[in-house]
């Protein structure tokens, strides 16, 4: 059931000079959320900015007694909305609509999962990792960022039993370069018979590269796209993604048909 709440900010954890995690009391959304789904958020009542912004659901939060306490959003300040979220204070309220979108698929036959994250694209993977580990799936995170200080929640992934492969633009930790470096190595040394599902979220170029690599190695790949969205409900037709279809290329709404897509379905060179 679709829920829209004025969610109270419980906690704002600064991770760096532009990344933070905002915990909000949106229990009714958290209770229904599946890994890969998103919420439409508006932290300010004013018309600047006017529209909500889509955010992956980062964590489903529970209190010490195990009761549902809300959800959190991984945020990087870039524009008006993300700046407001970066500066949110406990007690502030944030309009939050969700849960929305098609969650990640979790094939029952899967024994291994590889998650490939670039920057803020790590957001949907903490929840996915928790789900995968609960199902006993061997899980690996390939995680790239600009430098060591921009790779977050590594301990949280480790606690879940996730194997980490890191990459940074400046080589301050892990591979010096793109996250596709460790991914490529792992693909080459993994026997083709191993059933590994690949998930990717990050910059478009990265997801395109991951899709190509996965296809070369005959691995299924699911990407989580981050198109500019107007409404999140399928009403505005703004967030379309070009996909292959029997009749040729079609535009489908990423809020309804996505945000998760089979990477090989996406017509990458036509994406904005």
């Amino acid at each position: 059931m679709l829920v829209d709440v004025e969610a109270v900010v419980q906690k704002n954890t600064r991770l760096s000079s532009d990344y933070n995690v905002v915990a909000i009391a949106a229990q009714d959304i958290a209770a229904q959320a599946l890994p890969g789904q998103f919420v439409m958020v508006k932290p300010q009542a004013s018309h600047d900015s006017l529209l909500r912004r889509p955010f992956s659901i980062f964590e489903v939060l529970r209190d010490n007694a195990g009761n549902l306490a809300g959800l959190s959003l991984l945020n990087k300040q870039i524009g008006v909305t993300t700046r407001a979220l970066f500066n949110a204070k406990p007690g502030d309220s944030i309009r939050c609509l969700g849960p929305l979108g098609r969650p990640f698929s979790l094939p029952g036959s899967m024994t291994q999962a590889w998650m490939v994250a670039g920057g803020v694209g790590m957001a949907p993977f903490l929840g996915l990792a928790a789900q995968l580990r609960a199902q006993g799936v061997t899980t690996t995170l390939f995680y790239g960022g600009r430098h060591a200080g921009e790779l977050f929640y590594l301990d949280a992934f480790r606690r879940l039993g996730v194997t980490l492969h890191l990459a940074t633009d400046d080589g301050s930790v892990g591979d010096h370069g793109l996250v596709t470096l460790p991914l490529s190595r792992a693909l080459q040394r993994t026997p083709p018979a191993t059933s590994a599902q690949i998930y990717a979220c990050g910059p478009t170029g990265m997801m395109h590269a991951v899709t190509k690599l996965a296809s070369t190695h005959n691995r299924p790949v699911e990407v989580s796209l981050e198109q500019i969205m107007g409404c999140g409900l399928g009403g505005c037709y703004s967030c379309v993604v070009p996909v292959r279809s029997p009749g040729g290329m079609r535009y489908v709404r990423s809020c309804l048909d996505g945000p998760t897509f089979d990477g090989t379905r996406v017509v990458w060179d036509q994406i904005a």
Binding site: L2, H47, G230, C231, G235, S238, Y251
Partner: protein, 310 residues
């Protein structure tokens, strides 16, 4: 006092005067989880051509101060699939359906209207002669009084359904277009569609929309839209459906006071899909407070006499 929210828009009977605007509410069914579709005055569904259309490549929207620019390009499923796939569930949900139609030629407009005239569950036709985002059709007709007249007259001949041309604000004198529409047999007019506009990324020096230009909507345009409804109300006696950046019942009342018999809610659906109950209850509260029993009694009650105003 029981207030009566019902209105008559040129033969189209609505339980209340608040309508979902075309292009901002999908085919209505997308919003069924947020609002009981039967509680809306009506739903103007996304503009339909005869055949399916893919629309423009992304990026299709960009935010601007208190507004947004869009260039979707009328992506849609075409009238045949609409009648087969969307009308039955809309009918089952009790929705009052206004079908917004668009053509590349007068013949296409007329053909779509014929298809809709034969279908069950269509309450009115809104003629999109004002979309700024397509090269052929749409605003090409709406920017010429003769074009407006010819499209309306052609569609008038093939349908008995209430006919509502949706006017573009991208003209010098919008009232003259309301007159042209009336003279050609329109039952009502709706206005405004979006304002042709543009935004540029100064870092890349590229337009922010793939289509270069797009239509501006949202609160930024509301005062201009109110003025245009006011001008049309002075020029024609047929009902007017007003729209442009309405975010609250108070905004809707502005349009009604200057002469709109009903209003449409567009961009606000994107910001708050649950806005409908608030709009209706706030409108009712206003009528109670002003001791007005019929919402239609507020229409065109603008007081221009400063001395004698209450």
């Amino acid at each position: 006092m029981n207030v009566d929210l019902s209105v008559d828009i040129g033969g189209l009977q609505l339980a209340n005067p608040i309508i979902a605007a075309s292009g901002c509410f999908g085919y209505g069914l997308e919003y069924a989880e947020a609002v009981e579709l039967s509680t809306l005055g009506a739903i103007a569904v996304k503009g339909l051509f005869l055949d399916e259309r893919e629309g423009h490549p992304p990026d299709r929207i960009v935010e601007t101060p208190s507004g947004m620019l869009n260039a979707i390009g009328l992506q849609g499923i075409g009238v045949y699939r609409f009648v087969a796939e969307k009308l039955p569930p809309l009918q089952a949900a009790g929705a009052v359906v206004i079908v917004n139609i668009c053509g590349s030629s007068i013949e296409e407009y007329a053909e779509i209207a014929r298809v809709l005239d034969d279908a069950d569950g269509v309450s009115a036709i809104e003629l999109n002669i004002s979309c700024p985002n397509i090269k052929k059709g749409g605003m090409v007709f709406g920017c010429s009084q003769q074009g407006t007249h010819d499209v309306v007259a052609a569609v008038r001949q093939v349908t008995r359904l209430p006919l509502i041309p949706k006017l573009t604000p991208n003209v010098t004198d919008v009232a003259s277009f309301a007159i042209a529409a009336r003279d050609a047999g329109a039952d009502a007019v709706s206005l405004v569609n979006t304002f042709l506009a543009m935004a540029v990324d100064v870092e890349t020096r590229r337009p922010r929309l793939s289509n270069v230009v797009g239509g501006l909507s949202g609160p930024a345009i509301r005062p201009i839209a109110v003025r245009m409804v006011h001008e049309c109300h002075q020029a024609v006696e047929i009902p007017i459906i007003g729209m442009g950046g309405i975010m609250s019942a108070e905004d809707a009342l502005e349009f009604m006071i200057v002469g709109a018999s009903a209003v449409q809610i567009g961009t606000a659906n994107f910001v708050d899909p649950f806005i409908w109950t608030t709009l209706l209850s706030d409108l009712t509260t206003y009528l109670h407070r002003h001791q007005i029993q019929q919402v239609s009694d507020i229409v065109g009650t603008l007081s221009l006499n400063v001395e004698g105003s209450q």
